[in-house]
Structure formats: structure tokens, C-alpha cells
Symmetry: C2
Subunit: 376 residues, 2 copies
């Protein structure tokens, strides 16, 4: 009775270092400490729950795959692990609303959604079986897909749903996983225990947690999270015609400053430590970050940050790139630091928010700016 | 003797409507009339030659494929056509220097390269055999590529060379062609007769013309066009360290205004025709254009252009998207029209050139601005 009244009562305990935006459902971002590591510790991995955390007995969990002709095939977790090769893929997940607060603060209109700062993004090594292998076993051969096999729809135990195009689902270099392990541990309950989808390079909203069903269909998932929430519109559009915009799948390039070292050391300090900044840059679709530019004069001149060469598993660059920059002057007083990144397709970030504003505040990817107060 | 003194003497005659930048070698851009059509007529397709046009007798042309172990296999044109299925792929080619003049005119430093306006881009339906099929026949199976098969290097008859990563060369959805026909006609001499590479979604510099050799290697082409010219750097870098930047392959998103209709009709004209603008938007990597935004107040407010639904062949959106916009006021006098586009990964264009300046003036993709003088 209690659990019916409040389905959140059975939610797991969370790490107090997470920055909680809402408790029911739990939405909490990764603190700077967690963003500083290449692989985010599981307990500091940002949590984006649309509802409660389902209670699952592992032995009883089953995944059902439904083909366009209505044919169904079910797999227990044990069968998935025994019948298909397991793969490890390192991938960043990022909420479409990451940095939304930055958009809200830097243009004149409201945005409707959780006011994330720069921590609705994290990276893990995921372990699981490939979606394409399971679909092939269920009867979908990639070389002879039926005409109506256009989208793979995912449904979670708590009713959340989303879909991805079949081209991504069966891409041999797409690395889409049905994952049951995260950073070498069993998948935590907040992150989809016992089974979740990982769609590397796409908005995290497609990496459905607590996966119970996959439907192969000629249309996208009917859920509001596919048909409405995760879309963008022109900056003039205040009442969206949801059917007119394309669902967010691959993510655009972004970057953020997440840490400042020794900002308050005086100019004549014998300490010797430089003032430095660090952060991440990330682009969707497996497009590698090739350059991170830093400006301390409002964008008039730029210098390049050092990119950290982290090791990862996977067919493409599915991960954020960490960067560091130490070229800051000690005696500058208040300094505004700007960051922008470039990916291997040489796409860059927009300068400001006015031209990418949308009422949902999605994809807040303008140059990131942080003020540093270094003692003169 | 004469041909040795001037190898350009045997170049083909060109359409006088092309806008010629240099005659030897021929570099000429597509006029507005050609940019208005989805498929650019062959005679108006922009010409980007790095040297002279080789003189080829079709019957004698041979393509040689060299594998990492040194093994070679040769194919006459006749053999290519007979032994492999032919495919039609509609693809836009765009020079890395398209719109370079716009970059030069809109920031404070010089750019070193041909001063193209918005016409170093064109679209055609290409017909040929798939590179991956030929490579498989030559001994390279996509499922068991040798470790040292990392790049496909292409060499033309005139010594031009470039390469693409193997992941693109053998991608089943990459549509890389060895093409011998263009818009239903034999490949014109200026465009690579009798055989050229078409790398959809990548900078045109990789679509090597007059193809005579393919070398599969563990490194990129050694040519200056691979190792130097077609790269970008931070806006602060005036003396590039060429080894530090990644070769341009997939192209970033761009757009341009290419035509204005009836700009000088008076406000009270009984003619009824609106003032309208039109143009193209294009993004590399097969990423479809999902929105084109227009501003007539310098970017303060925006409206959406109508996208033209053109038909194309191919696994992805390899083509430009034509757009039209009729919301211009009759009585506005001098109006500045701005365009910017968004692709399916929701990448957008940078606002201005200062932050993407590079000494070669490559990838000039800032918002495009055109002044219209409509009578008050
Ligand atoms: Mo999200
Ligand atoms: Mo080019």
C-alpha cells in the first residue's frame, strides 16, 4: 500500500556528493570532483530519472523483442549473457538539458526544464551484448532488413520509452549495447539494473534503463520523450509544433569549464603553482574532439588547451575529451575564461544563446564562460 | 614539346558562365543560376583543378590497387564496369575554401588561398562501382582488415594525391564510389574522366580525379594536400605546425544565400511578386539539414525558411538542402539578410569569423550575410 502511494520509497540511497535538483524523481548532477576523472565513479555518475527506480529480482527479469511481423522472442538475462559475446564500450552519456541553467542565465527568455549546470554528463565503461547480435538472433539480419524495420523502440519497466533509427541499431560500428555492467561493477539500480541500453554518441534519453521490451517498428516510439520533449526549434518559436522538429539523436559539440586550481594565490606567491582551469569537451556521433580553445579576453584572442589522452574501448570516439589550461595570469584580478571546442568534422560551438534558444532549453552548447577572481 | 612547356594547352573548353578565379590551373565557381538547381548541370559544376587536366585514352586507362603487403592488382575500366555492380549516389562536393572571400572580408587578417565566394560547391548524381567492392576483390575483406590497413590513398594521373580513413572506405553505408558517370553523362574531363573517387560527406579534396592508383597503407597520403593545405588551426595560430592538426575529412555545417528575387520592386507594386531569397545549406558526414533560420535584423529575431524536398540516391543525406524564404518587407530599403542552418546532430554555424579564422581560410562557415536594396 505504501509503495503504491509513494513508488519512490524503494529508490536506492544516493551519494551525498551528487548535486540533487529533484528528489522524486531523482535528478542529480555529477560534482566537479567526479567530472575531473575520465571514468566517472558509479556513485557520482549523474542520475536522470523520469520516474521511480523499478524493483527487480535479477533472476526473473526478461527482455522481449518484437519484430515488425508481430513475432516475439524473449531472453532471460542469463540467456543474454550465455548466448552472445560480451563487449566493453567506453561512452559518455549526456542529458539534452546539460548546461540548461547557462542558457537560462544568458538570454532573456525562460527555459522549461531542470536547471542543470555542467554536470548532467558522465562517462563509464559499459559491458554488455551488442543490440545488433540480439536482433540478428531474433530474426533481423542486417543485410536483409524488412522495409518496415525503421526504428528500434525501447521500453523500460517504469514506462519510460524512446527509440533510435535502425541504421544506428544495427551499425557494425555503432556499438549499441544492452549493458549489465558499469565500470567493472554490476549495473547500479539508478543506472538501469539489471539491463539498460547504451547508445554511444546519442542523447542519453535514448539509452533506456531497466529495459524490458524492444519493438522494431516503422515509426518512432510514441512516448512524449520521443515525440515532444527532446527536440529543438528556431529561437523565435515559443509554442512549438512538435511534429515539425526532428528528435534529438546524435549530440552537437559542447565543452565546459569544470575546475579552477589555485585562483587565490597572490602574484608574488613562492608556492610556484600556476592558476589553471580544466574541463571537458564532447561531440556526438563518435566525432573526436580535435581542439579546445581558451580565451581570457572575451573572445578577442585564443590559445589552445592541452588535451588529455585517455584510453577507451569502442569503434569510435564515444567519450568526452578532458582538457587543461595553465596560461592564466596571476595578477589579473577578475578574469572571464571562455572555452569552445572543435571536433573532427570541424564543427564548433555557437558563440551565444540568443540564436539557439528553445523553450525546453535543450542543447545549451554556447561557449562556456566562468569568472575567476585571482588576487592582484 | 609545346605540351611540356604548357601542359594546360590540352585543357578542355569551359562554359563561359563559370566564374573563373584562375585559368591555369582552372579554378572556377558555379554561378547563381547553377546553384539554383538541385543537380548542378555538368557544364556549370565548379572546377577545382590543382594542375592541368590529364589527356586519357579511355581504352588504355588502368587502375592499380596496392595492398599493405605490397600485393598489386590492376583493373581496366572495362573490367571495373563488368565485374562490379554499378550504383548511383547523389552527392554534393564542396571545396574546403568555399566562401573563403567571406572570411577574408569579415575579419582583420589575410587568408592564403583562392578567394571563392559561395559557388565552390555543386551537386551531381554519380554513377560507378563501390570502392569497398573493389577492395574486397583485391583481397581486403571488411571483416578481417589487416592491422596496417588504416588509410586508402588515392593518386591521380597529374600527381595529385589524398587519402581517407579505411573506416569510410569500407563503410557499407559510406557510399564511396569509383565513378565514371555524372548526371547521366560520361564523366567530363574537368571532373576526372575517365575515373574518379567520390567520397560523399567529405571535403571534395579527397574525391581524387583521374584516379590511377589506390594504396592501402598504415598512414595518410604523403601529399601536401593531405599533410598541409586542408587543415584548420586555432584563430591565434599564424604559423601552423601542420603535424598538429587533423586533416579535414567530414565537413562542418554551412549555408549560403545564392539568389534574390525582385529586390527592386516598389512597395506599391501591382506586380504581386514578393521579394524572396534562396540558397543552400549543407553538412558533411551525411547529416541531414533539419532547419534553416533567416534574420533580417542582424540576428535579433529569426524566422524559418522553407526547405525544398529534393529526391536523392544514397544511404545518407549526402546532398545540400535548397531553401527559400519570402518573408521580406517591400519597404525596408537596405536590408541585411542573415542565414544559418542546423543539421540532424543539431550542430549549427558559428556567428562570425574571428573565432574560426585560420591562415588558409578553410571552412569559412560563419552565418552568411547579404545586403538587399529594396526600394522604399
Ligand atoms: Mo535527458
Ligand atoms: Mo578544395
Amino acid at each position: 500500500k505504501e509503495a503504491i502511494d509513494d513508488p519512490f520509497l524503494t529508490d536506492p540511497k544516493r551519494c551525498p556528493e551528487l548535486r540533487t535538483l529533484t528528489a522524486k524523481p531523482c535528478n542529480a548532477e555529477t560534482p566537479g570532483k567526479g567530472l575531473a576523472e575520465f571514468l566517472t565513479p558509479n556513485k557520482m555518475f549523474y542520475v536522470r530519472n523520469h520516474m521511480w527506480v523499478p524493483v527487480v529480482e535479477e533472476g526473473k527479469h526478461e527482455l522481449t523483442v518484437e519484430l515488425p511481423d508481430g513475432e516475439e522472442k524473449s531472453y532471460t538475462l542469463k540467456e543474454l549473457k550465455e548466448r552472445f559475446p560480451t563487449h566493453k564500450v567506453t561512452a559518455t552519456l549526456q542529458c539534452a538539458g546539460n548546461r540548461r541553467k547557462d542558457m537560462t542565465d544568458n538570454q532573456s527568455k525562460v527555459t522549461n526544464g531542470l536547471q542543470w549546470t555542467a554536470g548532467a554528463i558522465s562517462t563509464a565503461e559499459w559491458e554488455g551484448v551488442k543490440l545488433k547480435d540480439v536482433l540478428a538472433d531474433a530474426g533481423l539480419k542486417p543485410d536483409s532488413l524488412p522495409e518496415d524495420a525503421k526504428h528500434a523502440q525501447f521500453t523500460g519497466l517504469e514506462a519510460y520509452g524512446a527509440s533510435i533509427p535502425m541504421s544506428k541499431a544495427v551499425d557494425p560500428h555503432g556499438d549499441v549495447l544492452l549493458a549489465f555492467r558499469m565500470n567493472g561493477e554490476e549495473l547500479p539500480r539508478d543506472h538501469g539494473y539489471p539491463l539498460r541500453v547504451i547508445v554511444p554518441g546519442n542523447v542519453a534519453a535514448r539509452s533506456v534503463k531497466w529495459l524490458r521490451k524492444i519493438v522494431i517498428s516503422d515509426e518512432e516510439s510514441l512516448s512524449q520523450w520521443q515525440r515532444r520533449d527532446y527536440k529543438c526549434f528556431g529561437p523565435n518559436v515559443s509554442v512549438p509544433d512538435w511534429s515539425k522538429a526532428k528528435s534529438i539523436q546524435e549530440m552537437p559539440i559542447t565543452s565546459a569549464i569544470t575546475g579552477i586550481s589555485n585562483p587565490s594565490l597572490p602574484k608574488d606567491s613562492k608556492d610556484g603553482k600556476p592558476i589553471s582551469v580544466e574541463g571537458y569537451a564532447y561531440s556526438g556521433g563518435g566525432r573526436e574532439i580535435v581542439r579546445v580553445d581558451i580565451s581570457t579576453d572575451g573572445g578577442k584572442t585564443w590559445d589552445q588547451a592541452e588535451l588529455v589522452d585517455d584510453q577507451m574501448n569502442g569503434a569510435k570516439a564515444w567519450c568526452w575529451k578532458r582538457w587543461r589550461y595553465s596560461g592564466l595570469k596571476r595578477d589579473s584580478g577578475k578574469t572571464s575564461v571562455l572555452v569552445k571546442a572543435t571536433d573532427e568534422a570541424y564543427n564548433t560551438q555557437p558563440e551565444s544563446y540568443d540564436a539557439i534558444y528553445n523553450p525546453r532549453g535543450n542543447l545549451a552548447t554556447a561557449w562556456h564562460r566562468v569568472e575567476i577572481d585571482s588576487k592582484a
